[in-house]
């Protein structure tokens, strides 16, 4: 009560009630401001400390191992290094550089920090006749195996469109930091979040321009704006931004703020993907890591902050160059770079890689496979924000080869314009998916034919029929005669199934082997019906077909739809000596700290006994040697391979599935509308397959018979033992249990002498 009169007395000329009102109002404003400040303080502390960077999952190709004896063509190595954005520099002076000198390669690898990673190393090795020689370091120490950091081939960011590569401040080159500060906030280390000088300068500029043209913001203010506020330029926003910046500086170090800024800034757009942070921008624009860049690159990145769209170096290179040079000039004036550096750097081009050449977009079909597999186990939130690192099985060189083979087929076949194709390549021993092409224009993301084109497999099914027979050694072997004669089956729907041969002829009884190599439909249909369709279905499922199959007779000739990927899954067992090894595209998932969080190991199970598996491989080799796949044997002289052609009804689909000792590949050609393409497996898919196998390093099939198999001469009818030189005698690998007991007279006479002769022949060969 005593204060009121004094207030009135002190009010001077103001009237009492008015002054009272102003005081109340001021008090309310003050209280509100304090409450607001307290709220902001809590807000800034909570949000900044607990900020979760949105880090999309990153997908990497298989790291490349270099070791003595590895087959690697010089052109392939160069292509690989270019994809990885290594630079050709005399002496390979720093990580990410290489030099060729005659047969000698100098390669300075980049280090990488995964469990199976290694530090950056300067290596030297010879590359002679496409084979890597002994590896040694620059100091002459021997190296058994060197590993190149895996190439990033994609990122997965469902649910949001923000992408970034987190960098820590000590990983950021000092030149970039100093250039940034010189241009954006010279007094960063002196102010406490806001710069009165900057604000005054902005006010003058705004008054002169008659509107808001300059913000005068410090880096801290920019960070606050980018983190929590809108892009709108208004006084109201400033009134929030300034205290928040001050509070941020009160609670956090300059380094923490700078690091957050470097990771938060928006630096461009890649379709629907927003490029945030210097780490990703370096990859996006220059295809390299931050620490491999030069001052001109840093200048461009810093220059982009003013307007990523306006100074987009791909869309507006001249504006980008001018802006970059302006930044370089500031950097020189502030002593970040020398005069000589300035002159040298400003003469250089922008150094921006074309967007289409980035490996991030190069392999959409394979990344699609990875994405689908991940989506089964990880939520969109985990994939989009946790910074997972996905290690895959993609063999970049095999992938490029597969794309090239398919592309060159279409380039050379005018009539193939209306159809498309797909390729799957795997490693028989591990199930690793090495390559996946889902479109003849391999960079086009869309309908992924390798995974989604479910098409009739035609004669690709026939090995399953033959294998079912071989697993009944008391009844069948490769020499057993089957009748290639018309066959009719009354179906439940009242129709009759009466398959025809490709040449519309029936050749009568023939060895099962010939029925396979010549792909005789009627013989295979009869064999399959004798065996029972359901038994063939059992065989297919044992081999690795996961789909439910109905035991209709038409299945025996491939009247069943599968995708190229599914075909690869069960041919994998034929290539793997009877061991089913499920296909895998992902090997390891690591978190952002690079700790392993999931592993997808190789698994294998015996699906077919060693004997039948060996005989089946041998039979498929004969398909390539003498049968419908002989084009491959002509084109791949000296390489033992095996496989089977497939052609669906009315020439709608052309297939070839085959393997060497270290590669399985499935090729499909067809039309999306399921129309006829007028090509067979032999004339269409096989040339693509053969071309592909020529492009990648191969190991021949090792056809080492197990104990349960003997090579036996049989007579013309295939039911009696014969001998070399006897009339009509043919030699087959037979399971012991399937060797006939009876022998021809000629066979009895020749048996012993032949055995000894062969033994010696082996020694002299």
């Amino acid at each position: 009560m005593a204060r009121k009169p004094r207030s009135r007395k002190d009010s001077g000329s103001a009237s009492g009630p008015t002054r009272h009102l102003w005081l109340k109002l001021a008090t309310v404003v003050l209280v509100l401001a304090l409450v607001g400040l307290a709220w902001m303080d809590a807000f800034v502390r909570e949000r900044f400390a607990g900020h979760e960077w949105q880090l999309p999952a990153r997908v990497f190709a298989q790291p490349v191992d270099l070791y003595q004896g590895r087959e690697l063509a010089r052109d392939d190595l160069r292509r690989l290094l270019e994809l990885m954005r290594y630079q050709e520099r005399t002496g390979a002076p720093k990580p990410g550089s290489y030099a060729f000198s005659g047969n000698t390669v100098q390669l300075h690898t980049r280090g990488f920090g995964d469990d199976d990673g290694e530090p950056a190393r300067a290596l030297r090795f010879a590359l002679t006749d496409g084979t890597v020689g002994p590896l040694e370091t620059a100091s002459g120490a021997d190296v058994d195996i060197a590993r190149l950091a895996p190439l990033q081939i994609g990122s997965i960011h469902p649910g949001h469109r923000e992408d970034r590569v987190l960098v820590e401040l000590d990983e950021v080159p000092e030149t970039l930091v100093q250039t940034l500060l010189a241009v954006e906030d010279r007094r960063f280390h002196e102010h406490w979040g806001i710069s009165l000088r900057g604000i005054a300068r902005a006010m003058v500029a705004n008054i002169r321009a008659g509107g808001i043209v300059e913000g005068g913001s410090t880096l801290t203010q920019q960070l606050v704006k980018n983190f929590w506020l809108t892009r709108e330029r208004s006084i109201a926003r400033k009134l929030v931004e300034i205290p928040m910046a001050w509070l941020l500086e009160r609670h956090y170090s300059k380094d923490a703020i700078l690091e957050a800024y470097l990771n938060q800034v928006y630096l461009g757009q890649d379709g629907s993907r927003a490029i945030h942070g210097m780490g990703l921008a370096a990859q996006f624009y220059f295809g390299r890591e931050l620490d491999e860049l030069e001052p001109r690159h840093y200048a461009l990145l810093v220059g982009l902050l003013k307007g990523p769209g306006q100074y987009n170096p791909r869309g507006n290179p001249e504006a980008a160059r001018q802006r970059r040079n302006t930044v370089l000039r500031v950097a020189r004036d502030e002593g970040v770079i020398s005069e000589a550096e300035f002159r040298q750097q400003r003469r250089q081009d922008l150094g921006v890689v074309p967007r289409g050449e980035s490996a991030l977009y190069a392999f959409p079909a394979f990344v699609d496979l990875v994405r689908r597999q991940l989506a089964q186990q990880y939520s969109p939130g985990e994939l989009g924000g946790e910074g997972l690192r996905i290690q895959t099985t993609l063999d970049v060189l095999a992938q490029i080869a597969a794309e090239s083979s398919l592309r060159s087929f279409f380039e050379q076949n005018n009539r193939a314009e209306s159809f498309n194709g797909a390729v799957v390549m795997t490693a028989p021993e591990s199930g690793n998916v090495q390559a996946l092409v889902g479109d003849k224009r391999s960079r086009r993301a869309g309908f992924n034919r390798a995974l989604d084109a479910r098409r009739s497999v035609g004669s690709l099914i026939k090995p399953a029929v033959v294998l079912t027979a071989l697993e009944k050694p008391g009844q069948y072997h490769l020499g057993t005669h089957v009748r290639d004669e018309p066959v009719e089956v009354e179906l439940d729907n009242g129709r009759t199934w009466a398959p025809q041969n490709y040449d519309l002829e029936s050749r009568g009884p023939m060895p099962m082997l010939d029925a396979l190599t010549q792909s005789r439909n009627q013989a295979m249909a009869r064999l399959g019906l004798d065996l029972g369709v359901s038994h063939v279905v059992d065989t297919l499922q044992r081999l690795g077909v996961n789909r439910q199959l109905e035991p209709y007779p038409s299945l025996l000739l491939g009247g069943v739809e599968m995708t190229p990927f599914e075909v690869a899954a069960w041919y994998q067992t034929l290539a793997g000596e009877g061991f089913h090894t499920p296909l895998r595209a992902i090997t390891t998932v690591r978190n952002r700290q690079r700790e392993r969080v999931a592993r997808y190991p190789v698994s294998t199970r015996a699906a077919v006994d060693a004997g039948p598996a060996f005989v089946m491989q041998w039979a498929l080799q004969q398909v390539v040697q003498d049968g419908t796949g002989r084009h491959a044997a002509q084109q791949l002289p000296g390489l033992k391979v095996a496989g089977k052609t497939g052609t669906s009804d009315s020439f709608r689909d052309a297939w070839f599935a085959g393997f060497s000792g270290n590669r399985l590949a499935v090729v499909w050609l067809g039309r999306d509308d399921n129309g006829a393409i007028g090509m067979t497996g032999s004339s269409g898919a096989l040339p693509v397959w053969t071309d592909l196998m020529q492009r990648v390093p191969q190991r021949p099939l090792k056809l080492q018979p197990p104990d349960s198999v003997e090579r036996v001469w049989l007579d013309d009818d295939g039911d009696r033992i014969s001998a070399s030189g006897c009339p009509g005698a043919r030699r087959y690998p037979l399971l012991r249990a399937s060797i006939p007991e009876q022998a021809t007279a000629c066979g009895k006479a020749g048996e012993v002498s032949e055995g000894v002769k062969e033994w010696f022949k082996g020694w002299f060969d």
């Binding site: 191992d65 004896g69 469990d115 058994d144 195996i145 021993e429 000596e577 592993r599 190991p601 090792k702």
Partner: protein, 149 residues
């Protein structure tokens, strides 16, 4: 032809020496990688050594990664498949171990009965851990037969 003659001579010498040889006696030799295994002399051996060390340190996932890298380099090494089987056993993946043990047997050199016996024992362990006692006993019996001189 000359090479063939040389081989013939070598064969004759070996045949002569065979008469001097005796049946193996005493304890079976320590399990070692067969000299003819393709892993011998391969750069992949360094990965295998690192994997073995990881296994000893109970870092079986690390070991698995290294062995699978080696597998891409040497896909037909019985020894490598044997190690993969052991690694899977350490991870309580008996079915996986069975698959690799069988692959190791498929690639095992035919003239190494002790080695094959060791692989049969490994297979028996994998089978027994899956509760397939009869199959495990069968594998052990075959291992025993292989060890007999």
């Amino acid at each position: 032809m000359v090479q063939g003659l040389v081989r013939l001579i070598v064969l004759a010498v070996m045949a002569g020496l065979a008469g001097c040889s005796t049946a193996p006696s005493g304890p079976p030799p320590e399990l070692a990688m067969p000299a003819e295994d393709p892993l011998a002399g391969s750069p992949a051996l360094s990965l295998v050594r690192a994997a073995e060390a990881a296994l000893q340190q109970r870092r079986s996932a690390d070991a698995g990664e290294k062995l699978e890298r080696a597998l891409a380099m040497v896909p037909d090494s019985s020894w490598l498949y044997r190690l993969l089987a052991e690694q899977r056993l350490r991870r309580d993946d008996a079915a996986g171990a069975e698959g690799f043990a069988r692959r190791a047997l498929r690639h095992a050199p035919p003239e190494k009965p002790y080695y094959q016996a060791a692989l049969r024992e490994l297979l028996a362990t994998a089978l027994a851990r899956q509760g397939r006692q009869a199959a495990a006993e069968n594998a052990r019996a075959r291992a025993k037969t292989l060890r007999q001189p």
